[in-house]
Symmetry: C2
Subunit: 193 residues, 2 copies
């Protein structure tokens, strides 16, 4: 069963990968890039340090530019990020039998709704899995036990989230990035404990 | 971290236990009984065959009789089963640091809602985890790979679900059990593959 875990190098997607790996799935970590800025280095390093197979998948830049237009229109990132996530999942559903991402219980964006998951699985004949059954406290505890973590203010060099290429495009268009994406501290997985 | 997985001997709760075990939690499987009928034998056998610690917890029979009254009033099991599940989770939250059950993506009953989980975690200072991120196809595939399974028509001798003691009480009260709980085929975990 070809199994893809959408991978940013963060705790959530790393934990999703570990769970599927421990259940016997032959996991391939997938990091998406739209050719605007190479945001995939942090995820590639994390994946290599954990010893997982990892692939960068380049998708059509139009997915990103459409999302950035939505974000500029909304002056808020949610719809744009959700647009990217849905397009990515639809793409992966044609290539893999099981697709997973690290969205957890508290996540609102990006997240597939129950009916969207059902539709995806039925239309594409795939299985979709995420971390919705687990809350941030359990994810933090488990990650702190399993992984070496590095905390840093989010910037384009230490994360492979969709956010990174969005930030680059927004900046090119003269938008106030820190208004749309407030700075936050994030943890990156840099290896096993 | 004291970790309890509510355990029926079925695929879902077995898989939940395996995931937490593989993530390094010291898992104790808990099967509930209300003293009406010893429905705990199948779960005890499954737990022993998998090599997990297992404990039968006896709770106040009133929880069960209240549920059965609700079910007779409704002529439908959902509210009664949910009542039992909530009481059980509240009890376990006073005894353990992390509580898990095998409710999966498609389950409607018994299931804690998002706001109920948040309230539970905040009031009791516990963590709660379930399988809501995983659908039945993935659970079936994974279980078939990991476990020896035995399929049978559900009856009071091959499951440790809340349903079993409810059935006994309903029968004592002259209710038509098969009207309220239609017969179904269920899989019990009888060991590792």
């Amino acid at each position: 069963m070809k199994t893809a875990v959408l991978y940013s190098g963060g705790k959530d997607s790393s934990l999703m990968a570990v769970i599927l790996d421990k259940l016997g799935y032959d996991v391939e970590l997938i990091t998406i890039n739209f050719g605007v800025f190479d945001s995939t280095i942090p995820a590639t390093n994390s994946a290599n340090n954990l010893g997982f197979k990892h692939k960068v998948v380049k998708l059509d830049k139009k997915i990103l530019t459409d999302a950035v237009e939505m974000i500029i229109e909304d002056q808020f990132p949610n719809n744009g990020i959700n647009h990217i996530h849905h397009e990515v999942i639809e793409y992966l559903a044609d290539e893999y039998d099981l697709i997973a991402d690290g969205t957890r219980r508290e996540d609102r964006i990006p997240k597939l709704k129950q009916n969207e998951i059902q539709s995806l699985e039925d239309r594409k004949g795939v299985q979709y899995v995420n971390l919705t059954g687990i809350g941030y406290k359990t994810i933090n505890d488990t990650s702190a036990r399993l992984f070496k973590l590095q905390k840093a203010e989010s910037d384009i060099h230490n994360s492979s989230d969709y956010e990174m290429e969005i930030r680059v495009l927004l900046e090119q268009k003269g938008q106030d990035i820190n208004e749309i994406f407030p700075q936050h501290i994030q943890s990156r997985v840099i290896g096993w404990k």
